[in-house]
């Protein structure tokens, strides 16, 4: 039998369901360093650049990274050149990509979500916008906005007013009721939710017994969080009529298969990119093999069957 990996995410037609997680793959940097011609052989079905904010941010002090058991703690702190520089410098180059670009924006103030979306609304290079309301490494108005349903709804509705593009809200697992947050995003006008962002965590230096990360705490990603992510995808996809993008520790085609079965329409690969920058190229082929073994011919036969 032949397997179709074609994936629909609202108006976005993806040739397979694997995209990258924001902040873990920078095609402009990687293309400078790697021999592979990433603009021709782009491994993901859509590209999500690093989150940008209204103003440039320098990010957190080192250390920003620390490996844990089957995981990675990061506290980058949303270091970015600012949305205006992103629009001027990066978007024209990203227009060359053979896949849709999903811009990621975060706000230091709730109003920023609307303003950032407004700045991207006329940009044809951007097919969709993901609202990062959930980065745990930045104090946004004192507390991660994505932990509060009302503020999530408000940020989403401000974004909704400012753009007609496909709007994705990225949820944090650091809450008691993630389905409740997803419903708030849907209420605010989201077209889609993506989850999970990183899990709150920290590490102590084994010798000094002091926090390793410059920001003291960080976000955990990688295989260690897959069960947390899978549960979140399962519950949220059942609570919502909207499509769900699942992510959190997916490393193999088997993991991708499970996220899709749990209810994700697409799956993002993040930390796994650090082990192999071209991993996603292989995953799509391996996913088709796994589906064929199970007699699954298309995404419709797989998504949500768990």
């Amino acid at each position: 039998m032949s397997v179709s990996l074609e994936t629909r995410l609202g108006p976005l037609q993806l040739r397979h369901p694997v995209i990258n997680a924001s902040g873990t793959f920078d095609v402009l940097e990687a293309d400078k360093v790697l021999e592979a011609d990433l603009f021709t052989d782009f491994p993901f079905a859509a590209y999500v650049p690093k989150t940008v904010t209204l103003q440039p941010r320098t990010g957190n002090r080192p250390h920003r990274l620390y490996e844990t058991a089957a995981g990675l703690l990061n506290s980058i702190g949303l270091a970015n050149k600012g949305i205006e520089n992103f629009i001027a410098d990066d978007l024209p180059r990203l227009a060359r990509l053979p896949v849709p670009v999903i811009a990621s924006v975060a706000g230091e103030k709730t109003e920023d979500y609307g303003r950032c979306c407004g700045l991207l609304e006329e940009r044809g290079e951007v097919a969709a916008i993901e609202l990062n309301v959930s980065c745990p490494n930045v104090e946004l108005e004192g507390r991660a906005l994505g932990c509060d349903p009302d503020r999530t709804r408000r940020a989403t509705s401000l974004a909704r007013e400012a753009t007609s593009k496909f709007l994705i809200v990225k949820l944090t697992p650091n809450v008691t009721d993630i389905a409740g947050l997803a419903l708030a995003a849907a209420d605010g006008g989201a077209d889609c939710v993506s989850l999970i962002n990183t899990v709150h965590g920290m590490a102590l230096d084994p010798w000094t017994l002091k926090p390793v990360l410059g920001h003291t705490t960080g976000g955990l990603s990688g295989p260690a969080v897959k069960p947390v992510a899978l549960r979140a995808v399962y519950l949220v996809s059942r609570a919502l009529d909207l499509p769900v993008i699942g992510m959190g520790g997916a490393t193999t085609a088997q993991d991708v298969l499970e996220f899709l079965a749990a209810g994700a329409s697409a799956v993002a690969i993040g930390t796994a990119n650090f082990r192999d920058p071209l991993l996603a190229s292989r995953l799509a082929g391996e996913l088709a093999d796994l589906m064929e073994l199970r007699g699954l011919g298309s995404m419709d036969e797989l998504v949500g069957i768990a």
Binding site: G23, T24, F25, D26, E29, A30, K32, V33, L34, E35, A36, K50, T58, G59, R61, P62, H63, R64, L65, Y66, E67, A69, A70, G71, L72, N74, I76, A79, G222, P223, T251, T252, T271, N273, F274, R275, D276, P277, L278
Partner: protein, 258 residues
């Protein structure tokens, strides 16, 4: 240092040699393309081949030396990743991304004072050989805590290498940064090339500034992607945060905020 663009790729490499050198482990693996492209001061992201999730991430290792199609790295066990890498044996395979980073700037023909501390000496062996091949006047000062590390100096070759140990168990007793001014007295127009622990590099920086001599320092950081994408490996410089993997690892010593 300008970032030089040399294509890096991911290679699956067979290990052909693995032997102890003092407390370190010398591992050689076959990587024809990396051997042809790598320049002194560049590094590799290395992990054991296969699907094991622990340790999860590759480790940055400086290129210690090149021999025909073989790439050599010197490993000090400081954590899980380096413990695993120190355990590889002939016949095992490594997953290697490289060559990465900017490397040392070898322009010019003035004398070179190469200063290494501990495992930082490893990439300086490749540098020393390249400087000798360019007929640059060369002196190497290698400092270690004790004999168990200092025996690694045997990998350097050349009569231009002096060894220092903090406890005097091999070579001269003392810190490797102390004799720098005396060396520079007889090396007019010299450049310092240094790699080692941060306190040593900070001392070299101060000395270089006092003696009015330029110095290039190779820095280290925890890394995830190794290619400039994740912003995880930054250090503080006079120009703000800079990524060690793609804007370094070699920096002008005066740029670093120690």
């Amino acid at each position: 240092m300008d970032a030089q663009v040399i294509p890096a790729s991911l290679y699956d490499c067979p290990v052909v040699e693995s032997r102890p050198v003092g407390i370190y482990r010398l591992v050689s693996f076959r990587a024809r393309e990396i051997a042809a492209l790598a320049r002194p001061g560049q590094f590799l992201m290395v992990r054991t081949s296969g699907q094991s999730l622990d340790p999860l991430l590759p480790r940055p290792l400086g290129v210690h030396d090149i021999d025909a199609d073989l790439v050599k790295v010197l490993i000090e066990t400081v954590g899980r990743g380096t413990a695993w890498l120190s355990g590889v044996r002939v016949g095992d395979r490594l997953s290697v991304l490289g060559p990465l980073g900017n490397g040392f700037d070898l322009a010019g023909d003035g004398p070179a004072l190469v200063v290494g501390g501990g495992i930082g000496a490893a990439p300086l062996a490749f540098l020393a050989r390249a400087l000798r091949e360019r007929d640059r006047e060369l002196r190497c000062l290698l400092g270690f805590r004790t004999r168990g590390q200092a025996v690694a100096a045997e990998l350097f070759g050349g009569h231009d290498t002096e060894i220092f140990t903090e406890d005097g168990s091999m070579g001269r007793q003392g810190l490797v940064s102390e004799p720098i001014p005396e060396c520079l007295d007889s090396m007019s127009g010299a450049t310092i090339f240094a790699c080692g622990p941060d306190p040593m590099l900070a001392a070299v920086t101060r000395t270089a500034r006092d003696c009015g001599v330029p110095a290039q320092v190779s820095m280290a950081a925890h890394m995830a992607c190794g290619v400039g994408a994740c912003q995880g490996c930054v250090i503080d410089t006079v120009d703000g945060f800079r990524r060690v993997c793609s804007e370094g690892p070699v920096f002008d010593s005066n740029a670093i905020k120690w």
